[in-house]
Symmetry: C2
Subunit: 415 residues, 2 copies
């Protein structure tokens, strides 16, 4: 069951815009039982769209077109599809009335130009658009199905869920893709691959992808299953990988690292304070991304200058002079100091050299110290991180969360 | 001069991965004089790649393929391209020696499998890969050119700059795309469009795109120009839009808002301190993204709890009790307090309700107060922001930077 996605719009062919609708669509099409074999982005050009559609009808069972359903001259999806199929495009009275009502409710008279949105391709089923004006269409032709969806993500998602998913799933006859996602922190992509390649390569039915995202590794495994079938290879593989990677796995449910750490803090009834130097607030931004984080997150100090390290995080000035701001000693003092200053049970601190300037031979760009402290312990770690300024900062923030997780785990182990 | 981009790799057809190489390539191809008319993502499937190539050769002058040049069974770009062109693929002795040397330098013996990377299509020019093992190829056929580039962005960019750009520019004969980017803060996308649509629609040679990104609006204008030609429509349009939008424009050079604000602080010799509640560190993260920000950025307090607002930002407890943490009074007290606590010339504070919980009728989710204070002034503003938790936080952080910019501008006006 092959599907393909065609995104239509000249703005998607500029250097600023990526088509992200296709990510959502791919996930949903996989769930509905379709494999996405091609994705294309095409401009508002009638001939180009027609050419693509003719080729698509030769090779795919399901063709999803997004965008180009607006009311302007540039919106060519309806007319290009009708021509590629050799079918008529006619004004649909019912759709027109719906559009006019929609405008009237808001106190407007519909402009003549919007009538175009009520044009329907011969033989198409109209798909209602509760979130906007442009209706969608489901068209069957030559054993394939074509779906026309509006471009705005909110409208596209609402229409897909309500009208397209059930039709697609029916076409695929109960086949679907089962997936598992494992989140790993503390190892590089190649370290992970070295350990698990001998395992996953022996599972022929499971497709495994390794993805490095801002300091964590996401391992995605997927297997096609028939109606009612259990993805036994997938379950078996996931279990064996969990055993092989053990503690470096922070999540088997797709949960984010900051959310996992948040749950650990909440369960242990402990509170957190941050002292951030080179990350400048990125760890705080991640921690507070989680709704309800105020339960365990006390706050943070962005101690970008030495003055703030001294006055707010209680770092002794002599320590800064002797060891420098980027040192194990200062990381420790920051973690202990911010914990006391903000009255939290745990203090987490990061200090490092993000670059591009400021590096020296003994202290190169990328050098980062992380400190975690509670009332009786303080753990310091040191890393030299690769990449440009923003990469070093992102990695440092993620590594700090990973260290906090390790600290909380070892605490549980001791309890 | 039509170009198209084909990204090859089954991992790009999963719900987790977008092809971002094509954004870089689009910008460079535009600069070199080519319009990108199609972008396609295809899996590691020989027939699919061949089918695409045959269609591409019918319609495009320049076809850029990225990825699939590795040494494994899944890397099919070389063989599929050779077959689509009906040309032979042969082991190239010189490339092979280069590969072997590369391995030897690192102390490895090259595995047999890597020999595949030394296979070259008949009639192709080999493009050196200084950043990796897979060489690229430039192939001319039927009046079109095909370029094979490695998938890893670092390798792709290095090869494009060195070997592809000059060849492409020569093909296009000096034609190129001139672009201007204007950054706007403080208005919504539709407010901007209402004001400038009457202007830009009368410039037929300029393509104008409006893009909303995390609270700022980017206006991108582009015009094709011949060899030596000046983009006079583009310059004229940019000038008229600048006059129409005046103070809401923070940049005409593509510079980020945090960088513009940083330059203003540096020039005026003033320092900044932050008090962040709902944004949790996002403003600090943005400010410190700019290299050299330590010159003017003192630091910040992430005052997520009332205790931290009181102890670190010197907010009187009675104020919190009387008006609540999300109020104009507390925004003012935070801005004044953090300025004093951190000893900076300017204090910037944000307090708000990011949701999803915590909203009430008088104080709904999305309510945000921003305060900016120096030694003699304090300006407070109030907004109700749309969207989910992360959107509200992103918008709040950008609006705070915009307010800081307004504060610094009005200061200059008074001086």
């Amino acid at each position: 069951m092959n599907a393909e996605i065609i995104a239509i719009g000249s703005e998607l062919l500029t250097p600023d815009r990526v088509d992200t609708n296709s990510l959502y669509l791919t996930q949903k099409l996989n769930e509905a039982g379709f494999e996405v074999r091609l994705k294309t982005v095409v401009g508002d050009n009638r001939e180009d769209i027609q050419g693509l559609l003719r080729a698509a009808l030769q090779r795919s069972r399901l063709i999803v077109l997004c965008g180009g359903l607006g009311p302007t001259e540039d919106d060519l999806t309806r007319v290009a599809t009708a021509q590629a199929l050799g079918r008529r495009l006619t004004l649909n009275g019912e759709v027109l009335e719906g559009l006019q009502r929609r405008f009237a409710v808001r106190g407007y008279t519909m402009a003549k130009i919007n009538e175009r949105q009520a044009e329907v391709i011969e033989g198409a089923e109209v798909l209602a658009n509760p979130a906007g004006t442009a209706p969608g269409m489901w068209i069957e032709a030559n054993g394939a199905a074509l779906v026309l969806l509006p471009g705005p993500p909110r409208e596209l998602k609402a229409m897909f869920e309500a009208a397209v998913f059930p039709r697609a799933a029916r076409m695929a006859g109960g086949r679907s893709m089962a997936t598992r996602t494992i989140g790993i922190q503390g190892w590089t992509e190649s370290e992970v691959d070295t350990r698990i390649a001998p395992i996953y390569t022996s599972f022929s039915e499971v497709q495994t992808t390794i993805l490095a995202v801002k300091g964590v590794i996401l391992l995605r495994m997927q297997q096609w299953v028939g109606p009612g079938e259990i993805p036994s290879q997938l379950d078996d593989l996931a279990g064996r990988i969990q055993a092989a990677l053990s503690d470096t796995i922070y999540s088997t449910s797709g949960e984010a690292l900051e959310s996992v750490v948040g749950s650990m803090l909440r369960k242990s009834g402990r509170s957190l304070a941050l002292a951030e130097s080179c990350t400048g607030g990125m760890i705080g931004a991640a921690i507070t991304r989680v709704p309800g984080s105020s339960e365990y997150f006390r706050g943070g100090i962005v101690c970008y200058s030495n003055e703030v390290k001294i006055s707010q995080c209680r770092v002794p000035p002599a320590l800064l002079e002797r060891h420098g701001a980027v040192s194990a000693e200062v990381a420790e003092a920051l973690a202990l100091g911010v914990r006391q200053a903000l009255g939290s049970s745990i203090g987490l601190a990061v200090t490092g050299i993000a670059g591009p300037g400021g590096g020296t031979d003994p202290k190169p760009v990328g050098l980062v110290y992380v400190g975690v402290a509670d009332e009786c312990r303080c753990v310091i770690s040191r890393r030299i991180l690769p990449g440009d300024r923003e990469t070093v900062r992102e990695l440092a923030a993620t590594i700090a969360l990973g260290r906090l997780r390790g600290f909380l785990m070892s605490e549980n182990a001791r309890a």
